[in-house]
């Protein structure tokens, strides 16, 4: 029954796109309203069906299970491709719905064109309401996704991802930006940057706690893909506050294309990760053709509209160039391994050092750019050089030392003029925390029996006890480990439903460092391998990332 209701609502919502594109203003806005409500109701139907665990729907059989608690059953909404595409479209329309009063005249036509493509993909290739055609055992949700972070990370990230739809639609439909458009873009962007930052931080927090490799950022293709819209939106924000209309148009069109590209790369099943769902190549080709049509369509509009614009203001060249180079590097880093796998048969691996070596000089340029609009005096240069020398003296790492020095230069300049740009300041501090984290953090491997202990670098690790816990969903072996004077309880969980084991880490937080313990596998003769990490400044990185985004809400003085 849920399947039928859901399908009908989706269909209604799709059909309503037609009058949204064609008729007069009143009909347009009513049709849009019906479209939006039907879409949201179909999402609600899927959520209710998931909560009731309606196993006649294929998607639910594949991604949920009646043994799961209700919160994870609902989280299965974005545990697979079809449901997450529906959520993607819903969050996209939600942005448009929220702003419909401001951009009434311009929005609807382009909106219906853009969204109809996505809806076709949803209904034809990825219908989440497809009924089951043969009996299949329930597969349940990926154990790695059974986590509190998973409950909120995907919807928040999606909401942040798709906000570029508004600047995109505005740029496609108006030949000249009005003050209203510029203001709307600024407001939308500051909210979406905050949402996106929270989403990325949540993802990083989830990976840190759940994947158990002891780091906050792995330069994984999926993580890089989530950075693309983030960089794009920040760049667009700078173009918007500089009011350079040509760059606003360029960047807002690129912004949405990049969003679709990164969604396609992440969700299209080309990158094997926790985010891709082994979808068939039809889905990928569908997305690819949608993107191709979108590129041609928006390219045509760009060239017809851009000819009419004239500006006399200087654009923020440096900011835009750094961002475009960053986006180029990150996009290539996602695409190259896929290409080399299809052409050479073996994928290229890009290590963290590749990204670090490219991004550190770009960050230095960014730091330079953060002071170009201010008057610099000799003091800031002296401070920068002094810090560089002192830092290099202690660590022998010149690249990091120059980065730290440049950051100190920025902060001294702000101090001298007493204009603290919250975003810039927090960004500099975030980079400091990242560099310090990379230098100070370390880890220790130990192999221990019960009541054994092991010492390295002044850290004493002892395994006190191992306990068995059994729940509906998993079987757990929980260790009691003493590090110096604190006791931690990491565990291994085995999920019989999925035949997968995951490591549940335990952490001991302190003001600027934390202990992080992962239990490894059991070795044959009663030994357990245990990894202990000491991470510095990690929570501060996340905190400063959030304050960077919050800085977009502060009123600018100059």
């Amino acid at each position: 029954m849920f399947s039928l209701i859901g399908q009908l609502l989706l269909l209604l919502s799709f059909v309503m796109l037609w009058p949204t594109a064609l008729y007069n203003e009143t009909i347009k806005s009513r049709a849009f309203l019906v479209h939006y409500v039907a879409l949201m109701l179909s999402l609600l139907t899927l959520i209710i069906a998931l909560a009731y665990n309606d196993t006649s729907i294929l998607y639910i059989t594949q991604h949920s299970h009646d043994k799961l608690p209700i919160s994870y059953r609902i989280a299965a909404l974005y545990g697979g491709h079809n449901g997450s595409l529906l959520l993607f479209i819903c969050s996209l329309s939600t942005w448009c719905y929220c702003c419909k009063y401001y951009v009434k005249a311009t929005l609807y036509k382009q909106y219906s064109y853009v969204v109809s493509g996505l809806m076709i993909l949803l209904v034809i290739f990825n219908n989440p309401f497809e009924t089951i055609s043969f009996i299949q055992s329930s597969q349940g949700l990926n154990p790695l996704l059974q986590d509190a972070g998973m409950m909120i990370h995907p919807p928040i990230l999606y909401l942040g991802y798709v906000a570029t739809i508004l600047p995109f639609l505005i740029s496609l439909s108006v030949s000249e930006y009005k003050v209203m458009h510029i203001n709307l873009m600024r407001i939308v962007l500051k909210y979406s940057i905050l949402i996106l930052t929270i989403g990325i931080v949540l993802g990083s927090w989830w990976a840190y706690r759940v994947l158990g490799w002891g780091g906050y950022w792995g330069w994984d293709p999926v993580e890089n893909a989530s950075l693309l819209p983030w960089i794009m939106q920040i760049t667009l924000y700078h173009a918007v506050i500089s009011k350079h209309t040509i760059w606003i148009r360029r960047l807002s069109i690129m912004g949405f294309l990049i969003t679709i590209l990164s969604t396609m790369l992440v969700r299209g099943g080309m990158i094997a990760s926790v985010h891709s769902f082994a979808v068939n190549s039809k889905v990928f080709l569908g997305f690819l053709s949608y993107l191709a049509i979108l590129v041609i369509y928006s390219g045509y509009h760009y060239f017809t509209l851009a000819q009419k614009t004239q500006v006399t203001i200087k654009p923020m060249w440096l900011q835009h160039m750094i961002s475009l180079v960053l986006i180029g590097i990150l996009t290539l880093s996602i695409i190259l391994p896929i290409l080399s796998e299809t052409i050479l048969g073996m994928p290229i691996i890009l290590e963290a050092s590749f990204f670090k070596k490219l991004i550190m000089p770009l960050t230095m340029l960014m730091f330079y750019g953060m002071t170009t609009y201010l008057k610099k005096d000799r003091m800031s240069y002296i401070f920068a050089i002094l810090t560089t020398i002192i830092y290099a003296f202690f660590t022998y790492d010149w690249a990091s030392a120059i980065l730290i020095g440049a950051g100190v230069g920025v902060l001294t300049t702000y101090f001298q003029i007493n204009t603290w740009n919250l975003s810039h300041t927090s960004f500099v501090l975030m980079v400091f925390c990242m560099v310090l984290n990379a230098h100070q953090s370390y880890h220790i491997d130990a192999v221990l029996k019960i009541n054994d202990s092991y010492s390295e670098e002044g850290v004493n690790i002892s395994l006190l006890n191992i306990k068995d816990n059994i729940t509906d969903n998993y079987v757990e072996k929980q260790a009691m480990i003493k590090i110096n004077n604190t006791i931690l309880y990491p565990s291994i969980r085995y999920f019989p439903l999925n035949d997968t084991a995951t490591a549940k880490v335990d952490m001991q937080l302190n003001s600027y460092y934390e202990w992080y313990v992962v239990m490894g596998s059991q070795l044959e003769d009663g030994y357990w391998s245990i990894q202990v990490y000491k991470q510095y400044w990690l929570r501060w990185i996340w905190l400063f990332a959030i304050t960077t985004a919050l800085g977009f809400f502060t009123r600018r003085t100059n």
Binding site: N142, L211, A272, I349, K357
Partner: protein, 126 residues
């Protein structure tokens, strides 16, 4: 040579200097951080150098002594022995895919990083 010429020349010098620096940084990053995976069959005849192997862990080949592990990687045709000191990831299993970074020393790979490839990543089979 007037002022305009001089300005043009300095900007060209700066630009080419910047481009050279950028090219150097790019090449340096690529040579350091970009590698091609190899399969055990491609490595049978190499005896030295850094390696990045992807393959399956041979069934019944995993042994350990304290924190030192010994196992073999196979791609069906050939196998390569691996020595690793450290903790193996939880998802590391015999018969499953793995990725090894290490150094080839007289026919044996001394690994410094072992990853369980896509194993923690669960996929719904259709």
């Amino acid at each position: 040579m007037n002022r305009q010429h001089r300005r043009k020349i300095t900007s060209i010098v700066y630009l080419s200097f910047g481009l050279m620096l950028a090219a150097y940084l790019l090449l340096d990053a690529i040579s350091d951080g970009m590698h091609l995976y190899q399969s055990p069959s491609e490595l049978v005849n190499t005896s030295a150098g850094n390696v990045y192997i992807g393959g399956k862990v041979l069934e019944g080949s995993v042994h350990h002594k304290e924190t030192q592990y010994q196992f073999s990687i196979t791609d069906g045709d050939n196998t390569v022995p691996v020595i690793y000191k450290g903790t193996l990831p939880v998802m590391f299993k015999e018969g499953k895919d793995t990725v090894i970074r290490g150094e080839m020393v007289s026919g044996t790979v001394k690994a410094y990083q072992v990853l369980a490839k896509h194993d923690e990543y669960y996929q719904v089979e259709e």
